[in-house]
């Protein structure tokens, strides 16, 4: 692991909101997708996760809310172990947004989709309505409740997808390629949105400019391992490190 000097400032074991220790994951066909991931993220910290395709980024992210269960190691979020017993509470705590908004938005209307999480949390109608309104306002889609996802632009769908987890009031946001497919204006709006949101964030992306603009800390993954973890400025300045892992400077 190539740690940069900034690393120590972030990796404080006590007080870590997201704590991943020795995480291994093997697919049923025997493929080792994750080979000992250890990482701590403090509350409110915004972290970029970069690396080539097939590095295991998505597999890793699916461990944070218990979709994937570790073959070895442990994941803790907000002091709760991510395990079968805690699954419901962990999923309320960690909002996971997938790359393709058509996977995320599966209901006939935007309202139904944004309400899906809160309804499954067992909230009352008034509170569900309030949360939907607030989440849509947060992503700049107020008044879109009755709209049909397939009649919206990709940028609007991406933002609606984000609203579907914001309505659950998670403390952690885990986003997969949030800027993929967005036009420059959509990207700009997303950058402002990510900066303004108070949640702890782990965002996987190939968009180096986004990394530079939003995230103070960056983790590089390659072949199922963390190969670098530190301050974004230092990592993005290290041309050799980036090129060794199929990445490029912004």
């Amino acid at each position: 692991m190539t740690s940069t000097s900034a690393n120590s400032a972030f990796a404080s074991a006590n007080g870590a909101w997201v704590d991943v220790a020795g995480l291994h994951f093997r697919y049923p066909d025997g493929f080792d997708a994750l080979k000992g991931i250890t990482v701590q993220i403090a509350k409110g910290e915004k972290v970029a996760l970069i690396g080539p395709n097939g590095a295991g980024k998505s597999t890793f992210m699916l461990h944070l809310n218990g979709i994937n269960a570790p073959s070895e190691g442990k994941v803790t979020v907000g002091g709760m172990a991510v395990s079968r017993e805690n699954l419901g509470r962990v999923r309320a705590e960690v909002g996971l947004v997938f790359q393709d908004p058509d996977d995320q938005l599966f209901s006939p209307t935007v309202y139904d989709d944004v309400a899906f999480g809160p309804v499954h949390m067992g909230l009352k109608k008034d509170e569900v309505d309030e949360r939907v309104t607030r989440a849509l306002a947060d992503v700049g889609l107020s008044g879109f409740e009755k709209r049909l996802p397939h009649h919206m632009s990709i940028g609007q769908r991406k933002r609606a997808a984000l609203a579907t987890v914001l309505s659950m009031s998670p403390s952690v946001l885990v986003l997969d390629e949030p800027s993929a497919g967005l036009d420059p204006r959509g990207r700009r709006e997303l950058i402002h949105l990510l900066r303004d949101l108070p949640q702890t964030m782990l965002v996987s992306t190939h968009d180096m400019k986004l990394v530079a603009e939003v995230f103070p800390r960056t983790i590089i993954m390659d072949a199922g391992e963390i190969v670098a973890d530190g301050g974004t400025a230092a990592i993005l300045a290290d041309k050799d490190l980036l090129e060794a892992h199929g990445l490029e400077q912004p």
């Binding site: 999923r91 909002g95 996971l96 009755k146 579907t164």
Partner: protein, 228 residues
């Protein structure tokens, strides 16, 4: 004869509603041709029923007997299905999909079926989009060379087959991703739903009015043609 009177009145009601909704009878009737297969399914009844023989057709090997009762039954089945489908078309034209689903839920339609219908509706557009993108990619590469023979039907059939297969696999994989997205938001195998809003007074009035009308059609038919 009574059933024809009731059906006629019902059709009139559909017509009036379509005019009030400013959809017009043409669109509704055009939307109703989907009922045609049911008519064909009922058609053999003309020959298989025995009451009230009207004549026969000699086909050499066997003789088809035309039954008056059979014709009446086919005519009522035809009209009934045709008017029902017109009413259904009218409902779809005038009601948002979301309201339709809510209506089904109120009628105690199984939750799982509603979820399936709702997902189907949501992904129809995604699927057709995917299919048309694949078609476009194929058309873009359908070049021709002067003098060269065009590929045969068998080859083309295989291309279409492969495409259908690819579309199926893509949809299957998408369904896995959608399932994960649902799980991430608390889905544990049971579709939760919001507490229903109480029905508005106007909705109750419409519902009762509709029921009353149907009963009145029946009553009129029985009153005027008591023996049929």
């Amino acid at each position: 004869m009574g059933s024809f009177l009731a059906l006629g009145l019902a059709w009139l009601a559909v017509l009036v509603v379509s005019l009030v909704a400013r959809i017009g009878p043409q669109r509704v009737i055009r939307g109703s041709f989907i009922a045609l297969p049911f008519v064909f399914a009922a058609f053999p009844l003309i020959f298989t029923k025995h009451g009230d023989p009207l004549g026969s057709i000699d086909l050499g090997l066997f003789t088809l007997r035309i039954s008056g009762e059979g014709i009446r039954i086919v005519a009522t089945v035809t009209l009934k299905s045709w008017i029902s489908v017109q009413a259904a078309a009218l409902l779809v034209f005038t009601t948002t999909f979301h309201d339709l689903l809510e209506g089904l839920a109120r009628l105690r339609f199984p939750r799982l079926m509603i979820a399936i219908v709702s997902l189907m509706y949501r992904y129809l557009a995604v699927l057709t989009g995917e299919a048309s993108r694949m078609m476009r990619a194929r058309s873009a590469r359908m070049a021709e060379q002067a003098g060269a023979r065009r590929p045969g039907v068998r080859w083309q059939a295989r291309v279409v087959g492969n495409k259908v297969g690819a579309l199926f696999i893509r949809s299957y994989e998408r369904s896995e991703r959608v399932y994960v997205a649902m799980q991430s938001r608390g889905y544990r195998g049971q579709i939760a739903h919001l507490h229903e809003r109480p029905l508005a007074l106007t909705a109750w009035a419409t519902l009762c009015g509709g029921l009353l009308m149907a009963v009145m059609f029946q009553f009129a038919a029985r009153q005027w043609f008591p023996h049929s």
